[in-house]
């Protein structure tokens, strides 16, 4: 009953001074809005990066070779012995080079050309939109064929169908046999902006047979660790026990690195937003202190009429809780709208989660409680006679 009365008094007092109450709440509103929007966008971008990494293929293992002494790289045959057909089902060494690509009068500078074998398609889960990917036959025959990433195809050919046409890479003619489906950019670089040719063709095209990068597909996601061990043991033999001659990373490692970065970022953003909540709380305390001074006489009257300390305490704490809670609700609405709007603009799913909303709301109420106690206590401890005499 007392609580209901105190709530009524609080609401009446808040609405009797609308502008001041709104300005007081503004700090909390901005704080909650910022927390919700920033945390949601942080979570949204984490989600989108995570799904990009997962789209690289969940069985993907990447090996980079730094080399040891005179042996700075692997040969194609050394790399291909990693494929045991048991835990490791696909291996594709990659040699990359930058070229100028030309079709007719259209020319694109510094396009990445990747020499890969036919396993590459399975490892990177590549979808072919038109034609086909590089076949084992292309590789063995060192055929001068090329598969174009979606963006490269568009730039060179516009609306013409590229399959069967001839393009020139650094002046050498290649026949286009396929075009990849649009994949979107990913952490491991975008296939959309690359051209793929058979790796054995690449040996002669680039005059380079040194394998420094290998993409490997494990048989299934559960055996990625076993596959990594096998690769590790194999390469240790090749590099005579030098563990720094190569590096093996898989998707879960990239994921956890990215996750730790984005989590730190989200916490940082949330923390900054939290500070604005704190500042909002100080604003509430400030106004509550003014309000206690202004209402000294009212407090004196209430005490003379039989209000106990705790009645006055409750009245002012509930008032400050109502201010911060109302600010919190308005902040949730504003934060939700902001997060969804920004999410749409950034093309990520930034809808605030229930836990984000609940946490920021309870934090705002806690701020109201924390910063309301001091003014309320000051009001409750006023001497009734002095309070009644106050003009």
């Amino acid at each position: 009953m007392r609580y209901v009365q105190a709530l009524k008094i609080a609401i009446r007092s808040i609405f009797s001074n609308k502008l001041r109450s709104f300005l007081t709440m503004l700090g909390i509103i901005i704080g909650v809005t910022a927390v919700i929007a920033l945390v949601s966008i942080g979570q949204g971008s984490t989600k989108s990066v995570t799904s990009q990494i997962q789209s690289m293929g969940s069985n993907l293992i990447m090996v980079s070779v730094m080399g040891r002494g005179s042996q700075a790289s692997l040969t194609y045959e050394q790399a291909m012995t990693l494929k045991d057909g048991n835990y490791i089902k696909a291996v594709s060494p990659v040699i990359s080079s930058n070229v100028t690509a030309k079709y007719g009068n259209n020319s694109v500078d510094s396009v990445m050309v990747n020499g890969v074998n036919s396993d590459y398609q399975a490892i990177r889960s590549i979808q072919v939109a038109e034609g086909r990917f590089i076949s084992p036959m292309d590789d063995e025959g060192r055929n001068k064929v090329a598969v174009l990433g979606h963006n490269v195809a568009t730039e060179l050919f516009g609306f013409t169908d590229p399959v069967g046409k001839t393009i020139k890479l650094n002046g050498q003619a290649f026949t286009v046999v396929g075009v990849l489906a649009l994949k979107g950019s990913s952490i491991a670089g975008s296939d959309d902006d690359a051209i793929f040719i058979p790796i054995k063709t690449m040996f002669y095209f680039d005059k380079n047979k040194n394998i420094r990068q290998i993409y490997i597909g494990a048989s299934n996601p559960d055996t990625v660790e076993i596959a990594k061990n096998i690769i590790n043991n194999h390469l240790l033999v090749v590099f005579k026990g030098d563990t720094s001659a190569f590096r093996i990373i898989d998707q879960s490692q990239i994921l956890s690195t990215v996750n730790s970065v984005t989590t730190t970022l989200s916490l940082l953003l949330g923390g900054i937003a939290g500070i604005s909540l704190l500042v909002g709380g100080i604003g509430i305390m400030n106004i509550m202190l003014v309000s206690v001074t202004e209402r000294t006489r009212e407090i004196g009257i209430r005490k003379a009429l039989g209000a106990k300390k705790r009645d006055i305490l409750l009245q002012f704490i509930i008032e400050s809780l109502t201010l911060s809670g109302l600010g919190g609700i308005l902040g949730i609405i504003a934060g939700y709208i902001l997060a969804v709007t920004l999410g749409k603009a950034m093309n990520i799913d930034a809808n605030p989660t229930l836990s984000t909303i609940l946490v920021s709301f309870s934090f705002s109420v806690l701020v109201g409680l924390f910063f309301g106690v001091y003014p309320a206590n000051k009001a409750a401890n006023l001497n009734p006679i002095e309070a009644l005499r106050y003009e």
């Binding site: 009257i301 209430r302 005490k303 003379a304 009429l305 039989g306 106990k308 705790r310």
Partner: protein, 232 residues
């Protein structure tokens, strides 16, 4: 003298204020008995200690030494909360400047002491309406203090003082802020309350107001000068 009818009993009561190095003896050895049903006025110049005496009677302030029994209860043994309870249910205050809450209607102002006593809402509302009717403000219940004349505001304050049916009505210069016509009306209501059985204590500097009480206690420099009982 029937002692269980003594509502207010003070023995050698003193109140000393310290202002810097100086001691001010606002009350200096007060002996006072007020029995149930009395109509007492406490008269004195400003600075005589009459307001301090009223604050102590009303449990708003505490004495420095001496004894004060309210309805047989030794007030020096009470906690702040118990004093608040006494103010709530045993004492009804009427102030010179009315002291109504400006944001509330007359009805809500009268309900206020009952809220602190924990009276249920419906009963509260009914009793507040009854009391406002009693002081002749039946058609002003929804008005706020600034929409009422001084006399009307003081009548609301009287209705509020009666809310928890207290044993004692304490009025501090109840007509001080009113013109003589409204002042007379207020004194008429207060006299009626006494006739209905309420114990009334009026503090004033105005001999004409004091003269309306049945007993006049004169106070000067914190001491009681004399006790004057009027013939019935």
């Amino acid at each position: 003298m029937n002692s269980d009818k003594v509502l207010i009993k003070m023995r050698n009561l003193t109140k000393i204020y310290r202002i810097g190095q100086n001691e001010v003896r606002a009350l200096d050895g007060i002996d006072l008995d007020i029995r149930k049903g009395e109509f007492v006025s406490i008269v004195g110049q400003s600075g005589s200690g009459k307001t301090t005496l009223m604050n102590i009677i009303g449990c708003l302030d505490t004495k420095t030494s001496g004894e004060y029994f309210l309805n047989g209860i030794d007030t020096s043994k009470l906690t702040d909360n118990q004093l608040a309870d006494l103010r709530c249910s045993e004492i009804g205050f009427v102030f010179q400047n009315f002291n109504l809450l400006q944001r509330m209607t007359a009805l809500e102002n009268v309900e206020l002491p009952m809220i602190y006593k924990g009276v249920p809402a419906k009963e509260r509302r009914e009793r507040a309406e009854m009391l406002l009717e009693l002081v002749g403000l039946k058609d002003r219940m929804k008005h706020r203090p600034n929409e009422l004349s001084g006399g009307q505001q003081q009548r609301v304050a009287i209705a509020r003082a009666l809310a928890n049916n207290p044993r004692i009505i304490l009025a501090d210069e109840p007509t001080g802020n009113l013109d003589s016509k409204s002042g007379n009306e207020i004194m008429k209501i207060i006299t009626e309350l006494n006739e209905r059985g309420n114990t009334v204590v009026v503090v004033t500097h105005d001999p004409n107001i004091a003269a309306q009480a049945k007993r006049i206690v004169r106070i000067k420099d914190g001491r009681i000068l004399g006790n004057e009982v009027k013939a019935q």
